[in-house]
Each structure stands twice: as C-alpha cells, then as structure tokens.
C-alpha cells in the first residue's frame, strides 16, 4: 500500500477561547504555516496565527473608483459625443443629471468587487481540500474549533509537532492526509 503524504496535523478544541490560546502558543513556538477553522468568526484569531494583511479593502476601493469613473465616462460620452440631444439649448455635459447613475455604478462595482474579491483572495470556490479528509472536520461548521499545523512548515516534525499539539490539551488530534 502506498503511503499517503501528510498535509498536516490537526487538533480539535471545544471552545473559541481554547483555540485562541492554542493558536497564540503555536505562533510563539515558532510555527509559521498554521491555520485555524471555526464555525463562526472568532475575534482576534486571524491575528494570533499571524494573518494581518487583508487585501479586500483595496480591491473594493479600486472597484468603486473604476465603477464611478466608468459610469460617469459612459454618460458623458453618450450624452455629449455619441448621441447628443439638444433640449432647449441646455448643455450636453449636464453633470448634475449624471450623479445618480455615477453613484449607482460606484456602489455596484464596489459591491461586486467586495464579493468576488473576497472569494478570489480566499481561493474559493475550491472543490477539494485535504482538511475535509478528516471525518471529525465535519464539526468545524457546527460546534468545534480546529487548529492545523501544515507539514510544509520548516519546524514540522511528525513526532515533535504531535507532542507539541498534545501539550495544548486538545480534544483530539488527527493526521490530515493530502
């Protein structure tokens, strides 16, 4: 039988507080490639595993600016260049009338950028991921809290990492086949 390569070691906790403490100790221990899984957003957890850079706001800003500019440019081009309609001699570039559509386009592009930017940065949709190979991981969307140390971590060792995770007092430890 061929041995399946190991993706990481996963520990299961009962409460968000336990997980946050465990994540902090793992980070202090020097592990870099770590992730945590929770059934709801736990405040401060991402920071504990060393994740602070979040690209979503920039994506949304760029989306909003693009939407506003393109919305205004479209109206200007249509109303003043491509299809000018003379309404009682009023100016073709009647900017106050263009505000509403510019605003809506800003919101539309920024909102779609938020959704698709968040999904893209998260790498979703992702049809396969090794963590789902662990049967107990089904509880990660219900009531349990998981911490994983990836085998790609330079400090990772099959025995040493397991011993370290055991010292955190988890409910269970599972090997994650990739």
């Amino acid at each position: 039988m061929k041995r399946v390569p190991i993706y990481g070691l996963m520990a299961e906790f009962d409460t968000p507080s336990d997980l946050v403490t465990a994540a902090r100790r793992t980070h202090e221990e020097g592990y870099q490639k770590v992730d945590a899984y929770t059934p709801f957003p736990v405040e401060g957890l991402a920071e504990e595993i060393g994740f602070t850079k979040n690209g979503v706001p920039l994506v949304v800003l760029v989306g909003g600016i693009l939407g506003g500019l393109s919305g205004y440019a479209l109206q200007y081009w249509v109303s003043a260049i491509s299809y000018p309609v003379n309404v009682g001699g009023r100016p073709y570039h009647s900017w106050p009338a263009f505000i509403v559509v510019t605003f809506e386009m800003t919101i539309l592009f920024a909102g779609l950028a938020a959704v698709f930017g968040m999904l893209a940065l998260n790498g979703l949709p992702m049809p396969y991921h090794p963590v789902f190979n662990v049967p107990r991981f089904a509880f990660a969307t219900k009531d349990r809290f998981f911490l994983i140390i990836f085998s790609s971590d330079p400090k990772y060792g099959t025995e040493s990492t397991r011993q370290f995770l055991e010292s955190l007092g988890p409910r269970s430890i599972s090997e994650v086949p990739s």
Binding site: T15, P16, S17, V20, D35, A36, Y37, T38, P39, F40, P41, V42, E43, L45, A46, I49, F51, N54, G55, V56, P57, G64, L74, Q75, V78, S79, S82, Y83, V85, V87, S94, A97, V100, V101, F103, E104, M105, I107, L108, G111, L112, A114, V115, G117, M118, N122, L124, P125, M126, P127, Y128, H129, V131, F132, A138, F139, A140, T141, K142, D143
Partner: protein, 458 residues
Amino acid sequence: MDEPLEEVEVGQRAPVIEPGYTFTTVTDKISSIVLTRPTSMGWLVGFGISFLLTMMLLYAIGYLFLRGVGIWGVNIPVGWGFAIVNFVWWIGIGHAGTLISAILLLLRQSWRNSINRFAEAMTLFAVAAAGLFPILHLGRPWLAYWLFPYPNTMNYWPQFRSPLVWDVFAVSTYFTISLVFWFIGLIPDLATLRDRADSRAAQIIYGILAMGWRGSARHWHRYETAYLLLAGLATPLVLSVHTVVSFDFAISIVPGWHTTIFPPYFVAGAIYSGFAMVLMLAIPIRKFYGLEDFITERHLQNSAKVMLATGLIVAYGYAIEAFMGWYSGNTYDQFLFWNRLHGPYHAWYLLLLVCNIVIPQVLWIGKLRSSPFFLFLISLDILIGMWLERFIIVVVSLHRDFLNSSWGMYYPTRWDWMTYFGTIGMFLAAMFLFVRILPMISIFEMRTLLPQAEVKPE
C-alpha cells in the same frame, strides 16, 4: 467625583436569544427545519395557494402580452395606474430587509442576527415582484433591454437625464447587491448544511453552493471585512433607491409630485411598510416553526418601534404636503389638496390617513407591542395604508391636472387586480420555498450571539 454613581433602573428587556442554547443546539434547531423536518400539511396548503396565485399572475401576463396594456385601467389622463402603484409598494417593502441586514449591522444592533436572513430573502422577492411592473407597463415588454446602454445597430442610447433611466440603474443595482449580500451571508450556513445533510443529493447541492467553505480564520477575516464593506455600501444604496423612485415623481411638474419632501418621506414610508411585512412574515414563521426562542419578544418590540418612528415621519410628510399646498399659494397645489379631501377619491384618502397615521398610534402601548396577534393585524393595516398612499400619489395627482377639459377617472380592471394579487402569490410562493430549502435564520451569526462565543482573556 469619588462617590459611586447610583444604580440606574433599567427596564427588563426580553433577551435576543433565550438562555440555555449551545453551538450544537442552535445549529441543530435551525438546520433541522431544512434537513430533517417533514414537509407539513400547512406548508403544502400555503405553498399550493401561493402557487395558484402565481399561475393567475402568469395568466394575466400572458393575456397582457396578447392584447396589450389596454386590458388594464390605464388611459389618459391616468397613464400610470396600478403598475406604478404596485412597483413603488413592492420596492418599499424590500427596503426593510436591507435596513435590517446592513444599517443595523453598522449600528451594531445584534438582535438583527435572527431576522436578517429571511428579511433579505423578502427583499429579493419583493424587488423581483416590483421589477415586473415597470417592464409589463412598457407596452412592448420584450424590448425592456433597450433601457440598458449597449452598443446597437440603431445607434441609439438611453437618455441619462431622465429619472426613469436612473430608476433602471438604481433598481438593478439594488437587486444585484441585495442578491450577493444575501448569498455571501449564506455561504457559511450552506457549508453547515453540506456537513449535516444525510442525503447524497443534498450534500452535493449544498456543497456546490458552499464553494468549499471551510471556516479558515484567514477566510473569516476577509469575509468579515467584505461583509462589513458591503453593509457600508448597501446603506447609502438603500437610501438612494427609494429616493430615485421618488425622483420619478418629484422631477416632473405634476402638482402633488413636484415637491422636495418626497425623497425622505418615500424612504421612511418604504421602511414603514417593509417592517410591517417583516412582522407579517416573522410572526407566523416563529409560531409554526417553534422559533420563539430566536425571534423573541425583543424583535417584535423593536420592529414595532421602528414602525412607530417611521410612521411618524410619514405623518410629517403628509402634514408638509398639506402645508405646502396652502403656503405655496399655487392654485394647482391648493386644488390638489382640496381634491384629495373632497374629490371622487376622498374616501381612499381618509382611509389612508386612518390606516397609516391614526391606527398605528396604538403602538405607543407597550403591552400591545408584545402581542404577536395584534402586531400582525397592525402590520396588515400598515401595508394596506402604504398601498393606498401610493394609489393616492399616482392616481389622484394625475386624474385632475391643470385643465379641467383633460380630467378623467381611473378604474382598475380585473386584470389589474389579478396581476397585483398574482405578485403577492409569487412573493409568498418564493418565501415558502425559501424557508423549506435554506436556513431562514443565519446559523453562524446566531452562534456569535451565544455567551460561549466570547473569547475569555487568560
């Protein structure tokens, strides 16, 4: 400043979620409605009736396509009629969903967590029902796409100075943003259903929709940022939508429409009727699905208070309309108000005042605010009142304008009524399907409300 502050007496308020729940029980209670609960007789009957009404809508639309808008009561001078009345009514109802999901999120009103999901679904279905009306009213509905700017062989472009084109952008943006906001709110719960479902088909369908969500801390971090930013974007959006709808009227020169009070008073009216619809849905849902622990008295009380406050803004709007009719010194504005009180539609105007202003004042009584049955009746009253308001605005303003030679009357036909009740059926049918196949309360946001969710410092 050394002496301790005296104890402040705070009235006992009902909790947002009854005590004693854990992550497990919250998850089980909400997901079991979708996954394990058998389809009840009541659901079948309710869905059956709504489905029949939807079929009636299709019949009315089919006949409309065959014969044209002449089957409706619209004619000159009242060219807008039921189509626009119903459009404004439905769009307004949708507003409460976005208010609950976005504005209350920004205001950190955590009680919203148990009603935001189905309120957002209500928004989507209400906007879908609303969107039908202007399209059907076009006369040649198959050319509705001409409203969008796209390069075409006619070398033609939409007129961007027209509020009707603004409306196209506002409503379609509103629908799109409401849809994605609702959907990303659903993703973590779809993952829960994927992991809890027993049948293979359900696992696959929920699995595809959940897109591989695994609740990683990094994902949650970006997710929360995106959700918060979407809420921040949806907040000005929802205020803008009914403002733009009111521009359809206010930008014109018709007496009764050409007024600056319209945008704020339309938005307040929208939230007023929207919360009434939220209550009309929440009260039976919490009863039949036994969700009184999640949708508590607190939610009913708060929704009633929102209705009371927005109802007073609406009343202020009516008062300002009357005041401006007199103060402007404009003959036509004065006549419009006289015509509302004494013209052929005066009974509807008085009924509107009773439904929207007089009866809802009983919400000042705290005991009545916590009675579900009573709130249900008041909500029905407000929905009728807000429909009458739009009827008065559209029909009474149009039917007698500047020249008495062009006066006329508007009578809705049976096709008008069939289309209107048909959209109510379509809306309810969609709600019935929604509560059966998707979690109607946001499971992950309910988990965050539990005391166990708090991270205790070491």
